[in-house]
Amino acid sequence: MQIKNRGLIFSFLGVFLLSACGGEENADSESEEQDQSSDADQIELRVAWWGGQERHDQTLEMIELYEEKNPDVTIEAEYSGFDGYFDQLSTQFAAGNAPDIIQYGGNLNDFVSRDVVLPLDDYVGEELDLSNHDEAMVEAGTFDDQFYGVTLGTNAWGVLINETLFEEANVSLPGEEWTWDDFDQTAAELTEALDGVYGTEYFDHNGFGIFVDQRGKILHEDGELGINQEDVEAWFSHWEAIRDHGGVVLPEIQAASSTTPEQSMIVQGEVAMQLIPSNLYGAHNNATEDDLAFHIHPYNEEGRHGVSLRPSQFMAGYSETEHPQEVAEFLDFMVNDPEATEILGSNRGVPVNAEVRANLIESASEEDKVMYEYVDWVSSTSDSPYVPNLPGYNETEALFQEMSESIAFDQISIEEGAAEYWQSLQEIVENNTED
């Protein structure tokens, strides 16, 4: 069943209205008139992103600059908070009315697999220059050998440490190369020494990816899972041990916390260590008066940290856009243009373009420098391959969290939880890769 305009299905069913007032024709002719009345060569591009106030202001400024430099293009900015962003987007896709340029997160793969993202291969090397981009980040935007999205920022996971609390507890700060055992011990000591504060949060889904790498496995590749049930069990047992030693925060406190930096447990003074992506270091720092430091993730016994560079957000085109070439030009501008990238700064993570990075690092704030250094360091020490998010990203992540909670709250055993996760995981991956 090949229906190009999916909206047609619904229009057919909503035929009563359309026949009743003939509204469709009116609307079309109206918009045509509008198009003709404005400059005939004028191209309009709709650009959508989510973010907070800072990102909105920066992105709007960048767009203004783009319009100045490209007088034939008018940009319609469609931005909002994160709440409902993807619900709105899916609805627009369903009706065939999505913006030309769209910001994605770790779920880009789920949209690529459903053919709504514009393949950019035809423009790479022409309108879109990737020559200065990190290889890993180009790979991150590549699916089935086609390039789909430019990465707006490079990230790496690390452990955020509340130095003020460490000092208060009289626990020494971790060394450069700490192991899981050191981590375990430090966490337990912190809980012991501090009143009402726990050593660490539970690392959840994001930590699991790193853990899998430390076990020498690859989470998944080409639609095939590279792990098995034992790896899942090992993860849960690993944390059960740390929990038993006293280092991990109560599950009910973790469940009440939120992913937003301002409401995170470390900012609220509930834990002294937390796993965060490097681009959120500044946001955490701004939300508290305590001293926070960004530290490398614990190593395994063989001295592997397992952290790899990850994309923060992508910018990609809509497969049905009428102006694919201009889309590519805009994407290029956003990540390569010296002025544009200077305006955008590092709100979305460390820029992928090496030249841009070198340019920005000079004027970077203290917090941004920490982030730049960490990403550089990971980039030079890590041989962990880039592994894209699991297909069915939202669902697999929710499932992992649910199982983690069920185990932490002693509702099911580790074996049962791992088995249930494993079984559902296979189903979800299968559902989201068939095509």
Partner: protein, 280 residues
Amino acid sequence: MTWSLPLRKFLLYAFIIIFGFVMLYPIIWLLASSLKPESLIFSEPGLWPSEFTLENYVKGWNAVGDVTFGLFFKNSFVISIIAVLGNLLTCSMAAFAFSRLDFPLKKVFFSCMLLTIMLPTHVTLVPQYAIFHNLGWINTILPLTVPKLLATDAFFIFLMVQFFRGIPKELDESAIIDGCGPFQIYSRIILPLAEPALLTTAIFTFIWTWDDFFSQLLYLNTVENFTVPLGLRLFLDSQGESLWGAVFAMSVLSLLPIMILFFLFQRQIVEGIATTGVKG
């Protein structure tokens, strides 16, 4: 009931006041949080701010780019007022037909009307969006207002039906004897006597439209068209840095109009009818 009257009155007031505090706590908390500096909002546990600032209000009001919150308020007002007028007129007309007139298919349509309340909106959003898209109405206020002019809020039809049915039928009959047609019965008897229901409809429509987030997000794409709930979310990025102080400050401001409105209306609901007097 051997308690003396003063004691009973005292207990009644005591209950109402204590209970009132429990109800009021969220507003106090919201107000207090909006006056704290950004870095203290989440780290300071107490209600009373140790440091007062109006910075959040300034920051929040200036929203993004050169768009201020004033515009969001204006947009919200326009949509809410049209929604109120639409619902008052069209829902009361439909309710009048259902409760006072006889016509073929009445039961079928009444059931259909109730059915529309029962279906969760999440599954009709997408097809509805497609209709409005085909009409070329996206990013205008039409998808948010035209349905109200077409009595699609079945909740209020049902509400008014129940109230209209409570109005004695003899009134209609005597009006018919006086030579009134259905239109006069609707406008001169039913509407005035159902004032509490109409006021309830007006105030709920206003508040719910004012608070509605998702459909406004869906249909309003650019910031010039944004309403208050969309404006509030502009500061929130659960994946990055958020301006909670601004959110709290603007939440306080956005509550003011509906609180004042409610205060004025509730008096009307309760006192309006008492003077009209129903003759049974």
